[in-house]
Amino acid sequence: MTPENEAVPVKHPLPASGGTQSDGSPPGALAMVSTSPHTHAHRTTRGIMLDVCAALLPALAASVYYFGTRVLAVTAVSVGCCVLFEFLSRIVMKRPQTVGDCSAAVTGLLLAYNLPATLPLWMVGFGALVAIVVVKQMFGGIGRNFVNPAIAARIVLLFSFAGPMTAWTLPTGHSWQVAPDAVASATPMAILGGGAETAGQSLPSLLQMFLGARAGSLGETCAAALLLGGLYLIVFKVISPIIPLTYLGTVAAFFFLAGGLDWRFTVYQLLGGGLLLGALFMATDYTTSPLTRKGKAIYGVGLGLLTAVIRLYGSLPEGVSFAILIMNILVPHIDALTAPIPFGKPKPPRKEGRRHAKA
């Protein structure tokens, strides 16, 4: 008889029902089994979204200071409608509820920041509808939209309601109420662009530009607050600094050269329009930006070039939204071109055609 024949299969005896189980699990319960890894980082999607919301708050405070309490109404309607539409879409589509991930709230904040404080509230709600239902949920919800929802919504609003969307007012100063007699004004970008309707208007000082005392969308004017928020996201590694740096760097380099090495003009370009808001908070949206560091750098340079070209040669004074929209569409191609080569895999040989051309 071989020893093998004597082997007897054993059933797993359950662990002894000791008295140590203070957590209420039934004695003898089996431990959980799953494949590795058995531990995870603390960061969650919701945590990331809340970080972005927190980083956007300084700009909101500055906006209320400059444009009055109507800013809060616009922001509340935008965030409220985005969250509501997200909630309703998931119910209508019979999909798991995702409103708890707070991504709709981020979209709501960003959309509001891209609107003038004087926009009628129903238009704000319409923008939220476009952003959440059309751009985000119709393409499958979080992680599936191919363009930034807030940017797309802003552009739809711009073309639908060109008047109200470009009715800029100057900051009313230290006013805590809706300013009915707000002074209409062109944005610094329009003044720099030099259109006929801006004749006679003067540029705000660089300090005013930095602090946000200028006409513009409600969340884009205060560079100081936006930089503070952006720094927070970079320090806590929510976003990588590559896109903001390459984006702003390209714009700066372009205008420095195009403006005849005039640093003041370059700084106006960097602080003006929605560039900082776009570079720090909109272009860095995970879903619509490239995956790799190299891809992000290409994307940032592309954004910078498009923004500069639109500002300089386009009929629009501002190019950030369109630059982001166009580059969003190119992201799948950038990803394909910058896909990492697996470790230890030989680099793909140069294309046959080139070698033949040389020969």
Binding site: P3, E4, E6, A7, V8, P9, V10, H12, P13, L14, P15, A16, G18, T20, Q21, S22, D23, S25, A29, L30, A31, M32, V33, S34, T35, S36, P37, H38, T39, H40, A41, R43, T44, T45, G47, I48, T98, D101, S103, G140, G141, I142, G143, R144, Y286, T287, P290, L291, T292, R293, K294, A339, P340, I341, P342, F343, G344, K345, P346
Partner: protein
């Protein structure tokens, strides 16, 4: 690679036991020795119930591929042969020995006579040594395949997995054995350079090894320490080799292809001891830790001790373990109960309470790219996962799914808590099935042809 390639990720270390010297278990009532402890063919039991065995006596062996002999880790009587379902789901034969409480050594244990390279390989096989770092590859086979190709010995003391400090302790407590082991391997494999790679979070061990390296180095053998950043998975073979030497192991190749031999520090120390005493691999150091453990510790255990006896030894638990993990939390396997025995490659037993074991629900990928930037093999886990879900074998192949070493970085960092490495593992299964089918299809027409002629 440059600045665009930071290997791996930062994990919470939880190394709470590095200051604790291993406590030796003197009396173990029973051991269960699995006939399959590592890859390769399972051993055949060489004892029958009722036999009296002594410590170090061979109780299982086979001539089939890659096997190494298995030795009794306690003295006593063979109680029974069992078939045990192990954590991998396989049914494995096991020899159960009940202790006589004496730990009597087998008489024939003597230091091996080492004259030729073949002597050395035979002795390494006879010692029962497999890689003690976790992978458990039979050391004699590794040495044989590296002989002639390897010019550098890399000793792996990275120990990048959270919690585990078993190798850290070995570096501190058995540094002399490590040096002797290195000298031995270098002598029989004709190696002149050895580097001990260790993560920078083990200052005391680095200091100790450094001073010994200086003493042990000669003009024929240069031993040095290589300090590595504490990033997971620094100790993974290909990452480890690249960090220390800059050499890139090609896809599908072994380290010997780039002239290196990588061995775990505890394995090297064991060889140093074995050459002196002739005592085979019958015990190892295991870190017992986790949120359910009241008193984390390092324990020197006989191979084959069951977890319930080990946890009894390590003291009262804080709560019932909600998850029981053999080896590290990043790559270890979970056991449903404490009935599993320690094998040669388990370097830790982790008992998690409910909070630590809790798994958060999965949500949609937000394309944050953390998995891509964290992958030490420079793969794209999010795309591999999508390819698996689509059942797309061609895409899995194009994305180099087989190059995944299942370190778990991607799943660890994912903010959406997606089970990335788990699905890549399943994706590799799809590729293996596809390969087998392709081979069968290729063989079928040939067989038909043969049959018709």
């Amino acid at each position: 690679m440059g600045i665009f390639f930071q290997k791996g990720i930062h994990v919470r270390h939880n190394k709470r036991t590095s200051a604790l010297q291993p406590v030796r278990i003197e009396h173990c009532s029973e051991v269960t020795l699995l006939m399959k402890q590592h890859i390769g063919a399972p051993c055949r039991p060489l004892v029958v119930p009722g036999d009296l065995v002594k410590v170090g006596q061979v109780i299982g062996d086979t001539d089939e591929g890659l096997a190494v002999p298995l030795h009794a880790s306690i003295s006593g009587r063979v109680a029974r042969l069992e078939i045990l379902r192990v954590v991998t789901g396989e049914d494995v034969k096991a020899v159960v020995i009940t202790s006589d409480g004496k730990m009597t050594l087998a008489e024939d244990l003597a230091p091996p006579v080492l004259e030729t390279q073949e002597d050395f390989f035979r002795a390494v096989r006879a010692s029962g040594l497999v890689g003690l770092g976790g992978a458990g590859f039979p050391t004699h086979a590794k040495l044989r395949s590296a002989a002639g190709d390897a010019d550098t010995l890399l000793v792996n003391a990275a120990e990048c997995e959270p919690y585990i400090t078993a190798d850290h302790r070995e570096a501190l407590d058995a540094a002399d054995d490590v040096m002797e082991g290195i000298a031995l391997i270098a002598r029989f494999l004709g190696i002149h350079t050895a580097v001990i790679g260790i993560e920078n979070n083990k200052g005391d061990a680095i200091a100790k090894l450094r001073s010994l390296c200086a003493q042990a180095s000669s003009h024929a053998l240069k031993i040095s320490t290589g300090i590595l950043p504490s990033r997971y998975p620094q100790g993974a073979e290909k990452v480890f080799i690249h960090s220390l030497t800059g050499r890139v192991v090609p896809v599908g190749a072994l380290p010997s292809a780039v002239g290196v031999l990588v061995m775990n520090l505890a394995s090297v120390a064991f060889l140093g001891r074995y050459a002196k005493t002739g005592r085979p691999l019958i015990s190892r150091t295991v870190t017992v830790d986790g949120s359910a453990v009241a008193k984390p510790m390092n324990v020197r255990v006989p191979i084959g001790i069951k977890l319930n006896e080990l946890t009894e030894f390590s003291g009262q638990l804080k709560s019932a373990p909600a998850k029981i993990i053999l080896s590290g939390p990043m790559m270890g396997t979970a056991s449903p109960d404490l009935n599993a025995p320690i094998s040669k490659c388990n370097n830790a037993v982790l008992l998690f309470d409910r909070a630590e074991a809790a798994v958060q629900p999965e949500s949609a990928c937000i394309r944050c790219g953390a998995c891509v930037r964290g992958c030490p093999m420079k793969l794209q886990p999010l795309k591999l996962e999508a390819a698996y879900r689509a059942g797309n074998a061609a895409a899995l192949r194009a994305l180099c799914a087989m190059n995944c070493m299942e370190c778990g970085c991607c799943s660890y960092v994912c903010p959406a808590k997606r089970e990335l490495v788990q699905r890549i593992r399943l994706g590799k299964g799809i590729l293996r099935t596809a390969d087998t089918k392709a081979k069968a299809d290729a063989a079928a027409p040939a067989a038909q042809k043969e049959a018709s002629t």
